[in-house]
Symmetry: C2
């Protein structure tokens, strides 16, 4: 999931939650919850966070969206099929 990834990235950069929190101007508790998937990461925070964590915004965006899609799909037995169907559909309109 996304939270773990964010934590990994942060730690690999030797950063403290406090420092991230400061940049985003929020409480460290909030960051902690994002890293434990208790609170979602908003797109705005994502944007601010990417450079701090040394990851391309687009790459993080893929992870972020994939995480949300995964979350939805896993709730249903037909999740995998639905993902395939959605992919097919999106492929169509993109061409």
């Amino acid at each position: 999931m996304l939270g773990e990834k964010l934590k990994e990235l942060r730690e690999s950069k030797g950063l403290l939650q406090r420092q991230i929190a400061a940049e985003l101007e929020v409480d460290t508790a909030y960051i902690s919850k994002i890293e434990s998937n208790e609170k979602p990461l908003s797109r705005i925070h994502l944007k601010k966070m990417a450079p701090l964590l040394g990851i391309e915004e687009e790459e993080l965006l893929i992870l972020w969206l994939a995480d949300k899609l995964f979350d939805m799909a896993k709730e249903e037995v037909v999740g995998l099929k639905a993902l395939e169907e959605a992919k097919k559909e999106l492929g169509k309109i993109l061409k």
Copy 2:
């Protein structure tokens, strides 16, 4: 999208919105909006609707979920990549 599909199915069965509405115990306006994707189809309504439309609930469920996934993914440029990533991830935990 899902709404159009529901409408097709209904018409192919020669049913009126009024009849569907009666079964679901709602207003026809509400059905109309579902068919025009103005209101989402709830899982409960989906369940009731499937037999009326002569479609397997599971099949409708796939369409329904795929539609929601598609909707999310299409908002981002990286939507397709995210769908792939999500699929990969879900495949993993399913094995």
